[in-house]
Protein backbone atom coordinates (compact mmCIF):
# COMPACT_ATOMS: atom_id res chain seq x y z
CA UNK A 1 0.00 0.00 0.00
CA UNK A 2 2.84 2.28 0.77
CA UNK A 3 4.79 0.86 -2.16
CA UNK A 4 6.30 3.84 -3.91
CA UNK A 5 7.31 1.98 -7.05
CA UNK A 6 3.99 1.57 -8.91
CA UNK A 7 2.87 5.01 -7.68
CA UNK A 8 5.96 6.72 -9.10
CA UNK A 9 5.82 4.92 -12.43
CA UNK A 10 2.16 5.94 -12.84
CA UNK A 11 3.08 9.52 -11.95
CA UNK A 12 5.86 9.61 -14.56
CA UNK A 13 3.56 8.13 -17.23
CA UNK A 14 0.99 10.81 -16.44
CA UNK A 15 3.65 13.51 -16.64
CA UNK A 16 4.89 12.22 -19.99
CA UNK A 17 1.41 12.07 -21.54
CA UNK A 18 0.59 15.54 -20.25
CA UNK A 19 3.76 16.93 -21.77
CA UNK A 20 3.17 15.13 -25.09
CA UNK A 21 -0.36 16.56 -25.13
CA UNK A 22 1.18 20.02 -25.18
CA UNK A 23 3.12 19.29 -28.36
CA UNK A 24 6.50 17.97 -27.17
CA UNK A 25 7.99 15.04 -29.16
CA UNK A 26 7.84 11.69 -27.26
CA UNK A 27 11.62 11.31 -27.07
CA UNK A 28 11.99 14.67 -25.33
CA UNK A 29 9.22 13.72 -22.88
CA UNK A 30 11.05 10.47 -22.07
CA UNK A 31 14.33 12.39 -21.58
CA UNK A 32 12.50 14.80 -19.25
CA UNK A 33 11.14 11.95 -17.11
CA UNK A 34 14.59 10.33 -16.94
CA UNK A 35 16.20 13.67 -16.11
CA UNK A 36 13.87 14.12 -13.12
CA UNK A 37 14.71 10.60 -11.92
CA UNK A 38 18.42 11.32 -12.32
CA UNK A 39 18.00 14.54 -10.35
CA UNK A 40 16.27 12.74 -7.50
CA UNK A 41 19.00 10.07 -7.46
CA UNK A 42 21.81 12.66 -7.41
CA UNK A 43 20.05 14.48 -4.57
CA UNK A 44 19.68 11.24 -2.60
CA UNK A 45 23.32 10.28 -3.12
CA UNK A 46 24.45 13.75 -2.03
CA UNK A 47 22.30 13.86 1.09
CA UNK A 48 22.84 10.36 2.47
CA UNK A 49 26.59 10.91 3.11
CA UNK A 50 25.71 13.97 5.18
CA UNK A 51 23.49 11.81 7.36
CA UNK A 52 26.23 9.16 7.50
CA UNK A 53 28.87 11.65 8.67
CA UNK A 54 26.61 12.68 11.55
CA UNK A 55 25.78 9.04 12.31
CA UNK A 56 29.48 8.15 12.36
CA UNK A 57 30.30 10.85 14.85
CA UNK A 58 27.41 9.92 17.11
CA UNK A 59 28.18 6.21 16.93
CA UNK A 60 31.86 6.94 17.60
CA UNK A 61 30.87 9.03 20.57
CA UNK A 62 28.59 6.41 22.08
CA UNK A 63 31.15 3.67 21.57
CA UNK A 64 33.75 5.80 23.33
CA UNK A 65 31.41 6.58 26.27
CA UNK A 66 30.89 10.21 25.26
CA UNK A 67 28.05 12.03 23.57
CA UNK A 68 29.39 13.19 20.20
CA UNK A 69 28.21 16.44 18.59
CA UNK A 70 25.49 18.07 20.70
CA UNK A 71 25.85 21.79 20.11
CA UNK A 72 24.57 22.58 16.64
CA UNK A 73 20.80 22.00 16.67
CA UNK A 74 18.93 19.54 18.91
CA UNK A 75 21.26 16.61 19.61
CA UNK A 76 23.68 18.09 17.08
CA UNK A 77 21.77 17.10 13.94
CA UNK A 78 22.89 20.16 11.97
CA UNK A 79 26.57 19.42 12.61
CA UNK A 80 27.21 18.13 9.08
CA UNK A 81 25.54 21.18 7.57
CA UNK A 82 27.82 23.42 9.63
CA UNK A 83 30.85 21.35 8.55
CA UNK A 84 29.81 21.66 4.92
CA UNK A 85 29.41 25.43 5.14
CA UNK A 86 32.81 25.72 6.81
CA UNK A 87 34.49 23.65 4.08
CA UNK A 88 32.86 25.70 1.32
CA UNK A 89 34.20 28.92 2.78
CA UNK A 90 37.76 27.64 3.23
CA UNK A 91 40.47 28.97 0.96
CA UNK A 92 41.22 26.80 -2.05
CA UNK A 93 44.99 26.30 -2.08
CA UNK A 94 46.75 24.80 -5.09
CA UNK A 95 50.41 23.98 -4.37
CA UNK A 96 52.91 25.87 -6.51
CA UNK A 97 54.97 23.05 -8.01
CA UNK A 98 52.05 20.81 -8.81
CA UNK A 99 50.14 20.11 -11.98
CA UNK A 100 47.21 22.52 -11.68
CA UNK A 101 44.89 20.68 -14.04
CA UNK A 102 45.38 17.37 -12.23
CA UNK A 103 44.83 19.01 -8.85
CA UNK A 104 41.53 20.50 -10.00
CA UNK A 105 40.30 17.40 -11.81
CA UNK A 106 41.24 14.77 -9.22
CA UNK A 107 38.26 15.24 -6.85
CA UNK A 108 35.90 15.29 -9.82
CA UNK A 109 37.24 11.98 -11.10
CA UNK A 110 36.94 10.42 -7.63
CA UNK A 111 33.38 11.61 -7.02
CA UNK A 112 31.60 11.31 -10.37
CA UNK A 113 31.56 7.50 -10.71
CA UNK A 114 29.73 6.98 -7.43
CA UNK A 115 26.65 8.83 -8.70
CA UNK A 116 26.58 6.65 -11.80
CA UNK A 117 27.02 3.46 -9.77
CA UNK A 118 23.72 3.98 -7.95
CA UNK A 119 21.69 3.67 -11.17
CA UNK A 120 21.14 -0.13 -11.19
CA UNK A 121 20.59 -0.51 -7.42
CA UNK A 122 17.10 -1.85 -6.61
CA UNK A 123 15.79 0.39 -3.85
CA UNK A 124 12.51 -1.50 -3.67
CA UNK A 125 9.74 -2.88 -5.86
CA UNK A 126 9.70 -0.79 -9.02
CA UNK A 127 12.13 1.74 -7.51
CA UNK A 128 15.10 0.90 -9.66
CA UNK A 129 16.29 3.84 -11.81
CA UNK A 130 17.39 1.58 -14.66
CA UNK A 131 17.46 -2.19 -14.76
CA UNK A 132 20.65 -3.17 -16.56
CA UNK A 133 21.38 -6.75 -17.53
CA UNK A 134 24.98 -6.36 -16.43
CA UNK A 135 24.43 -4.25 -13.32
CA UNK A 136 26.92 -6.04 -11.02
CA UNK A 137 29.72 -5.81 -13.60
CA UNK A 138 28.71 -2.22 -14.37
CA UNK A 139 29.02 -1.18 -10.71
CA UNK A 140 32.43 -2.82 -10.33
CA UNK A 141 33.70 -1.34 -13.59
CA UNK A 142 32.59 2.21 -12.82
CA UNK A 143 33.90 2.18 -9.26
CA UNK A 144 37.31 1.30 -10.70
CA UNK A 145 37.40 4.74 -12.28
CA UNK A 146 37.75 6.35 -8.84
CA UNK A 147 41.15 4.74 -8.45
CA UNK A 148 42.43 6.87 -11.34
CA UNK A 149 41.26 9.90 -9.37
CA UNK A 150 43.31 8.78 -6.37
CA UNK A 151 46.43 8.58 -8.57
CA UNK A 152 45.69 11.99 -10.06
CA UNK A 153 45.30 13.39 -6.55
CA UNK A 154 48.67 11.97 -5.54
CA UNK A 155 50.38 13.42 -8.62
CA UNK A 156 48.65 16.78 -8.46
CA UNK A 157 49.73 17.41 -4.89
CA UNK A 158 53.28 18.22 -5.90
CA UNK A 159 55.08 16.61 -2.97
CA UNK A 160 56.66 13.19 -2.78
CA UNK A 161 54.83 12.06 0.35
CA UNK A 162 51.41 12.64 -1.11
CA UNK A 163 52.51 10.88 -4.27
CA UNK A 164 53.56 7.86 -2.23
CA UNK A 165 50.27 8.04 -0.37
CA UNK A 166 48.44 8.05 -3.69
CA UNK A 167 50.44 5.08 -4.96
CA UNK A 168 49.79 3.13 -1.77
CA UNK A 169 46.10 3.98 -1.89
CA UNK A 170 45.78 2.92 -5.51
CA UNK A 171 47.68 -0.32 -4.82
CA UNK A 172 45.31 -1.12 -1.97
CA UNK A 173 42.23 -0.31 -4.07
CA UNK A 174 43.37 -2.43 -7.01
CA UNK A 175 44.38 -5.37 -4.78
CA UNK A 176 41.12 -5.56 -2.84
CA UNK A 177 38.99 -5.33 -5.98
CA UNK A 178 39.87 -8.93 -6.81
CA UNK A 179 38.50 -10.72 -3.71
CA UNK A 180 35.54 -8.35 -3.87
CA UNK A 181 34.59 -9.40 -7.38
CA UNK A 182 35.41 -13.06 -6.78
CA UNK A 183 33.29 -13.19 -3.63
CA UNK A 184 30.26 -12.07 -5.63
CA UNK A 185 30.76 -14.80 -8.27
CA UNK A 186 29.04 -17.53 -6.14
CA UNK A 187 25.91 -15.37 -6.00
CA UNK A 188 26.02 -14.94 -9.78
CA UNK A 189 26.51 -18.66 -10.25
CA UNK A 190 23.52 -19.59 -8.12
CA UNK A 191 21.11 -17.05 -9.59
CA UNK A 192 22.49 -17.15 -13.14
CA UNK A 193 22.18 -13.43 -13.84
CA UNK A 194 24.19 -10.25 -13.43
CA UNK A 195 21.13 -8.09 -12.83
CA UNK A 196 20.79 -6.89 -9.22
CA UNK A 197 17.03 -6.70 -9.53
CA UNK A 198 16.74 -10.33 -10.62
CA UNK A 199 19.10 -11.45 -7.84
CA UNK A 200 17.06 -9.56 -5.26
CA UNK A 201 13.80 -10.96 -6.65
CA UNK A 202 15.23 -14.47 -6.64
CA UNK A 203 15.67 -14.29 -2.87
CA UNK A 204 12.01 -13.71 -2.08
CA UNK A 205 10.30 -16.53 -0.23
CA UNK A 206 10.92 -18.85 2.71
CA UNK A 207 12.65 -22.20 3.15
CA UNK A 208 10.42 -24.61 5.07
CA UNK A 209 8.24 -21.74 6.12
CA UNK A 210 10.60 -19.93 8.48
CA UNK A 211 14.06 -19.26 6.93
CA UNK A 212 14.18 -16.50 4.27
CA UNK A 213 15.74 -17.58 0.98
CA UNK A 214 18.57 -15.07 1.30
CA UNK A 215 21.98 -16.01 -0.02
CA UNK A 216 23.60 -15.50 3.34
CA UNK A 217 21.73 -18.48 4.74
CA UNK A 218 23.27 -20.93 2.26
CA UNK A 219 25.49 -23.33 4.26
CA UNK A 220 29.06 -22.01 4.51
CA UNK A 221 29.26 -20.45 1.05
CA UNK A 222 26.78 -17.71 1.89
CA UNK A 223 28.51 -16.62 5.05
CA UNK A 224 32.00 -16.92 3.56
CA UNK A 225 31.01 -14.87 0.51
CA UNK A 226 29.42 -12.17 2.64
CA UNK A 227 32.39 -11.95 5.02
CA UNK A 228 34.90 -11.68 2.16
CA UNK A 229 32.72 -9.08 0.41
CA UNK A 230 32.39 -7.07 3.61
CA UNK A 231 36.10 -7.06 4.41
CA UNK A 232 37.05 -6.24 0.81
CA UNK A 233 34.49 -3.40 0.73
CA UNK A 234 35.86 -1.95 3.96
CA UNK A 235 39.30 -1.97 2.31
CA UNK A 236 37.95 -0.55 -0.96
CA UNK A 237 36.38 2.42 0.77
CA UNK A 238 39.58 3.18 2.72
CA UNK A 239 37.95 2.72 6.10
CA UNK A 240 39.76 1.64 9.23
CA UNK A 241 41.29 -0.90 9.74
CA UNK A 242 42.50 -0.35 6.15
CA UNK A 243 42.83 3.40 6.02
CA UNK A 244 46.60 3.74 5.75
CA UNK A 245 46.31 5.96 2.62
CA UNK A 246 44.26 8.60 4.31
CA UNK A 247 44.62 8.42 8.08
CA UNK A 248 45.62 11.68 9.69
CA UNK A 249 48.66 10.33 11.44
CA UNK A 250 50.09 8.39 8.48
CA UNK A 251 52.13 10.25 5.87
CA UNK A 252 50.38 13.43 7.00
CA UNK A 253 46.95 12.27 5.72
CA UNK A 254 48.28 10.70 2.56
CA UNK A 255 47.02 11.65 -0.85
CA UNK A 256 44.48 14.21 0.23
CA UNK A 257 46.84 16.38 2.30
CA UNK A 258 46.94 19.21 -0.20
CA UNK A 259 43.21 19.36 -0.85
CA UNK A 260 41.35 21.97 1.17
CA UNK A 261 37.84 23.32 1.21
CA UNK A 262 35.34 22.05 -1.32
CA UNK A 263 37.74 19.53 -2.87
CA UNK A 264 38.26 17.84 0.49
CA UNK A 265 34.49 17.87 1.02
CA UNK A 266 34.04 16.10 -2.33
CA UNK A 267 36.60 13.41 -1.45
CA UNK A 268 34.91 12.91 1.91
CA UNK A 269 31.50 12.68 0.22
CA UNK A 270 32.87 10.07 -2.19
CA UNK A 271 34.08 7.87 0.66
CA UNK A 272 30.75 7.85 2.50
CA UNK A 273 28.78 7.44 -0.72
CA UNK A 274 30.91 4.38 -1.53
CA UNK A 275 30.16 3.01 1.97
CA UNK A 276 26.44 3.42 1.24
CA UNK A 277 26.86 1.83 -2.20
CA UNK A 278 28.75 -1.18 -0.83
CA UNK A 279 26.09 -1.71 1.83
CA UNK A 280 23.31 -1.43 -0.75
CA UNK A 281 25.07 -3.97 -2.97
CA UNK A 282 25.59 -6.33 -0.04
CA UNK A 283 21.90 -6.09 0.80
CA UNK A 284 20.77 -6.69 -2.77
CA UNK A 285 23.18 -9.62 -3.27
CA UNK A 286 23.17 -11.38 0.09
CA UNK A 287 20.18 -10.20 2.12
CA UNK A 288 17.35 -10.27 -0.36
CA UNK A 289 17.13 -6.48 -0.88
CA UNK A 290 13.62 -5.40 0.00
CA UNK A 291 12.39 -8.78 1.12
CA UNK A 292 10.77 -9.01 4.50
CA UNK A 293 7.40 -9.60 6.11
CA UNK A 294 5.04 -6.90 4.97
CA UNK A 295 2.36 -7.04 7.69
CA UNK A 296 -0.35 -7.23 5.08
CA UNK A 297 1.17 -4.55 2.86
CA UNK A 298 1.84 -1.89 5.50
CA UNK A 299 5.65 -2.18 5.50
CA UNK A 300 6.87 -1.34 1.98
CA UNK A 301 9.92 -2.95 0.35
CA UNK A 302 11.97 0.25 0.25
CA UNK A 303 11.69 0.49 4.04
CA UNK A 304 13.19 -3.00 4.36
CA UNK A 305 15.91 -2.18 1.83
CA UNK A 306 16.96 1.03 3.55
CA UNK A 307 16.72 -0.60 6.96
CA UNK A 308 19.02 -3.47 6.00
CA UNK A 309 21.39 -1.08 4.23
CA UNK A 310 21.72 1.11 7.26
CA UNK A 311 22.28 -1.96 9.44
CA UNK A 312 25.30 -2.89 7.28
CA UNK A 313 26.47 0.75 7.29
CA UNK A 314 26.39 0.47 11.08
CA UNK A 315 28.69 -2.55 10.71
CA UNK A 316 31.11 -0.37 8.70
CA UNK A 317 31.01 2.30 11.39
CA UNK A 318 31.43 -0.29 14.14
CA UNK A 319 34.59 -1.68 12.50
CA UNK A 320 36.21 1.72 12.53
CA UNK A 321 36.12 2.10 16.28
CA UNK A 322 36.88 -1.51 17.15
CA UNK A 323 39.95 -2.58 15.19
CA UNK A 324 43.43 -1.05 15.12
CA UNK A 325 44.88 0.00 11.81
CA UNK A 326 46.76 -2.53 9.70
CA UNK A 327 50.24 -1.71 8.38
CA UNK A 328 50.46 -1.52 4.63
CA UNK A 329 52.40 -4.76 4.18
CA UNK A 330 50.06 -6.61 6.55
CA UNK A 331 47.20 -5.21 4.49
CA UNK A 332 48.61 -6.52 1.21
CA UNK A 333 49.52 -9.89 2.68
CA UNK A 334 46.03 -10.25 4.08
CA UNK A 335 44.52 -9.60 0.67
CA UNK A 336 46.74 -11.76 -1.50
CA UNK A 337 47.50 -14.61 0.87
CA UNK A 338 44.21 -14.98 2.73
CA UNK A 339 41.20 -13.38 1.05
CA UNK A 340 42.04 -14.33 -2.53
CA UNK A 341 42.57 -18.09 -1.92
CA UNK A 342 39.43 -18.29 0.19
CA UNK A 343 37.33 -16.52 -2.43
CA UNK A 344 38.57 -18.94 -5.10
CA UNK A 345 37.78 -21.87 -2.78
CA UNK A 346 34.33 -20.34 -2.33
CA UNK A 347 33.74 -20.35 -6.09
CA UNK A 348 34.77 -24.00 -6.24
CA UNK A 349 32.50 -24.97 -3.35
CA UNK A 350 29.57 -23.18 -4.95
CA UNK A 351 30.14 -25.08 -8.17
CA UNK A 352 30.11 -28.31 -6.15
CA UNK A 353 26.90 -27.33 -4.42
CA UNK A 354 25.17 -26.49 -7.70
CA UNK A 355 26.32 -29.83 -9.12
CA UNK A 356 25.02 -31.74 -6.10
CA UNK A 357 21.70 -29.96 -6.19
CA UNK A 358 20.89 -31.25 -9.66
Amino acid sequence: MLELGPLLSRAFQALQSWVILHGVPPLAAWILAKAIQVGVLVLLVSLVPMVLVYAERKVAGFMQARLGPMNVGPYGIFQTLADGVKLIFKEDIIPVGSDRLMHIMAPMVVVSPVFVCFAPVPFGKGLIPIDLDISVLFIFAISGISTIGVLMAGWGSGNKFSMLGGLRGAAQLVSYEIPRVLSVVPVLMVYGTLSLKSIAMGQVGLWHGFLPKWFIFYPFIGQLAFVIFLIASVAETNRTPFDIPEAESELVAGFHTEFSGLKFALLFLAEYAYVFLSSAMAVALFFGGGDGFTLGGWIPSWFWFLGKTFAIVFLFLWFRWTFPRLRVDQLMQFCWKFLLPWSIVNVGLTGLMILLRK
Partner: protein, 169 residues
Amino acid sequence: MERTLPTLIFACMAILLIGLSLIVVTARSVFRGAVALTAALGVVAALFALLGADFVAASQLLIYVGGIMIIMLFVIMLSQRPLDHLDRQTNEQWVWGAFFALAISCALIMQFRAVYRGVFVTTVATPTTASIGRLLLGDMVVPFEAVSLVLLAALVGAVYFGLDGKDRT
Protein backbone atom coordinates in the same frame (compact mmCIF):
# COMPACT_ATOMS: atom_id res chain seq x y z
CA MET B 1 14.42 12.30 -34.18
CA GLU B 2 14.87 8.72 -33.08
CA ARG B 3 17.06 8.07 -36.13
CA THR B 4 19.32 11.04 -35.63
CA LEU B 5 19.97 10.74 -31.88
CA PRO B 6 22.44 7.85 -32.23
CA THR B 7 24.18 9.77 -35.02
CA LEU B 8 24.47 12.86 -32.85
CA ILE B 9 25.84 10.85 -29.95
CA PHE B 10 28.30 9.13 -32.27
CA ALA B 11 29.47 12.45 -33.70
CA CYS B 12 30.12 13.90 -30.23
CA MET B 13 31.98 10.79 -29.10
CA ALA B 14 34.03 10.66 -32.30
CA ILE B 15 35.18 14.27 -31.95
CA LEU B 16 36.00 13.68 -28.26
CA LEU B 17 37.92 10.51 -29.06
CA ILE B 18 39.98 12.11 -31.82
CA GLY B 19 40.77 15.11 -29.62
CA LEU B 20 41.84 12.92 -26.70
CA SER B 21 44.00 10.72 -28.95
CA LEU B 22 45.78 13.80 -30.27
CA ILE B 23 46.46 14.86 -26.69
CA VAL B 24 47.86 11.39 -25.97
CA VAL B 25 50.42 11.57 -28.77
CA THR B 26 51.43 15.20 -28.40
CA ALA B 27 51.33 16.02 -24.68
CA ARG B 28 54.56 17.28 -23.18
CA SER B 29 53.82 15.78 -19.81
CA VAL B 30 53.42 12.00 -20.11
CA PHE B 31 51.10 11.95 -17.09
CA ARG B 32 48.62 14.19 -18.89
CA GLY B 33 48.88 11.95 -21.92
CA ALA B 34 48.08 8.93 -19.77
CA VAL B 35 45.05 10.62 -18.22
CA ALA B 36 43.87 11.57 -21.73
CA LEU B 37 44.33 7.93 -22.76
CA THR B 38 42.18 6.85 -19.80
CA ALA B 39 39.43 9.20 -20.92
CA ALA B 40 39.81 7.94 -24.52
CA LEU B 41 39.38 4.35 -23.31
CA GLY B 42 36.24 5.42 -21.47
CA VAL B 43 34.86 6.91 -24.71
CA VAL B 44 35.69 3.68 -26.54
CA ALA B 45 33.69 1.80 -23.89
CA ALA B 46 30.77 4.16 -24.59
CA LEU B 47 31.15 3.36 -28.32
CA PHE B 48 30.92 -0.33 -27.51
CA ALA B 49 27.71 0.33 -25.59
CA LEU B 50 26.37 2.27 -28.59
CA LEU B 51 27.11 -0.80 -30.72
CA GLY B 52 25.03 -2.97 -28.40
CA ALA B 53 27.98 -4.82 -26.81
CA ASP B 54 27.21 -4.22 -23.13
CA PHE B 55 29.40 -6.89 -21.59
CA VAL B 56 32.39 -5.84 -23.68
CA ALA B 57 31.86 -2.19 -22.69
CA ALA B 58 31.90 -3.02 -18.97
CA SER B 59 34.92 -5.31 -19.48
CA GLN B 60 36.74 -2.51 -21.31
CA LEU B 61 36.26 -0.21 -18.33
CA LEU B 62 37.19 -2.91 -15.85
CA ILE B 63 40.31 -4.19 -17.66
CA TYR B 64 41.68 -1.13 -19.41
CA VAL B 65 40.74 1.75 -17.13
CA GLY B 66 40.69 -0.16 -13.86
CA GLY B 67 43.79 -2.24 -14.57
CA ILE B 68 46.13 -1.30 -17.39
CA MET B 69 45.94 2.47 -17.01
CA ILE B 70 46.48 2.25 -13.26
CA ILE B 71 49.66 0.26 -13.79
CA MET B 72 50.77 2.69 -16.48
CA LEU B 73 50.13 5.67 -14.20
CA PHE B 74 52.09 3.87 -11.48
CA VAL B 75 55.12 3.43 -13.74
CA ILE B 76 54.88 7.02 -14.99
CA MET B 77 54.77 8.32 -11.44
CA LEU B 78 57.75 6.18 -10.44
CA SER B 79 59.95 7.10 -13.42
CA GLN B 80 59.54 10.80 -14.03
CA ARG B 81 62.06 13.51 -13.30
CA PRO B 82 60.89 16.97 -12.23
CA LEU B 83 61.94 18.83 -15.40
CA ASP B 84 60.73 16.27 -17.91
CA HIS B 85 57.83 18.32 -19.14
CA LEU B 86 60.15 20.95 -20.56
CA ASP B 87 61.75 18.66 -23.18
CA ARG B 88 60.14 18.14 -26.53
CA GLN B 89 58.44 14.81 -26.88
CA THR B 90 58.87 13.96 -30.55
CA ASN B 91 62.07 12.63 -32.06
CA GLU B 92 63.71 13.92 -35.22
CA GLN B 93 61.93 11.47 -37.53
CA TRP B 94 58.54 13.03 -36.99
CA VAL B 95 58.03 13.99 -40.62
CA TRP B 96 58.32 10.39 -41.80
CA GLY B 97 56.16 9.24 -38.90
CA ALA B 98 53.42 11.69 -39.80
CA PHE B 99 53.65 10.70 -43.46
CA PHE B 100 53.28 7.00 -42.70
CA ALA B 101 50.43 7.59 -40.29
CA LEU B 102 48.58 9.72 -42.83
CA ALA B 103 49.24 7.20 -45.59
CA ILE B 104 47.94 4.25 -43.56
CA SER B 105 44.84 6.02 -42.32
CA CYS B 106 43.96 7.50 -45.72
CA ALA B 107 44.34 4.11 -47.38
CA LEU B 108 42.12 2.48 -44.77
CA ILE B 109 39.51 5.23 -44.93
CA MET B 110 39.24 5.13 -48.70
CA GLN B 111 38.94 1.34 -48.70
CA PHE B 112 36.27 1.31 -45.97
CA ARG B 113 34.22 3.99 -47.69
CA ALA B 114 34.32 2.09 -50.95
CA VAL B 115 33.39 -1.34 -49.64
CA TYR B 116 31.19 -0.81 -46.56
CA ARG B 117 29.19 2.27 -47.36
CA GLY B 118 25.53 2.01 -46.59
CA VAL B 119 25.40 -1.08 -44.35
CA PHE B 120 22.55 -0.54 -41.92
CA VAL B 121 21.08 -2.69 -39.21
CA THR B 122 17.79 -2.28 -37.37
CA THR B 123 17.84 -4.95 -34.66
CA VAL B 124 17.08 -4.06 -31.06
CA ALA B 125 20.01 -4.47 -28.69
CA THR B 126 19.81 -7.63 -26.62
CA PRO B 127 21.88 -8.59 -23.57
CA THR B 128 24.99 -10.45 -24.68
CA THR B 129 26.43 -11.86 -21.45
CA ALA B 130 24.83 -15.29 -21.69
CA SER B 131 25.76 -15.68 -25.36
CA ILE B 132 29.38 -14.66 -24.72
CA GLY B 133 29.54 -17.10 -21.82
CA ARG B 134 28.26 -19.93 -23.96
CA LEU B 135 30.67 -18.97 -26.75
CA LEU B 136 33.71 -18.79 -24.48
CA LEU B 137 33.03 -22.18 -22.92
CA GLY B 138 31.70 -23.76 -26.10
CA ASP B 139 33.26 -22.90 -29.42
CA MET B 140 36.13 -20.80 -28.07
CA VAL B 141 37.24 -22.92 -25.15
CA VAL B 142 40.71 -23.63 -26.56
CA PRO B 143 41.69 -19.94 -26.88
CA PHE B 144 40.14 -19.41 -23.45
CA GLU B 145 42.47 -21.93 -21.83
CA ALA B 146 45.43 -20.77 -23.91
CA VAL B 147 44.91 -17.18 -22.79
CA SER B 148 45.05 -18.27 -19.16
CA LEU B 149 48.49 -19.78 -19.85
CA VAL B 150 49.59 -16.54 -21.53
CA LEU B 151 48.44 -14.58 -18.48
CA LEU B 152 50.39 -16.92 -16.21
CA ALA B 153 53.51 -16.39 -18.30
CA ALA B 154 53.01 -12.61 -18.25
CA LEU B 155 52.55 -12.67 -14.47
CA VAL B 156 55.71 -14.68 -13.89
CA GLY B 157 57.66 -12.50 -16.34
CA ALA B 158 56.51 -9.27 -14.75
CA VAL B 159 57.37 -10.47 -11.25
CA TYR B 160 60.80 -11.66 -12.41
CA PHE B 161 61.63 -8.34 -14.01
CA GLY B 162 60.49 -6.54 -10.92
CA LEU B 163 62.86 -8.37 -8.61
CA ASP B 164 66.16 -6.83 -7.55
CA GLY B 165 69.42 -8.22 -8.87
CA LYS B 166 70.20 -10.32 -5.82
CA ASP B 167 66.77 -11.97 -5.75
CA ARG B 168 67.09 -13.30 -9.27
CA THR B 169 68.44 -16.78 -8.69
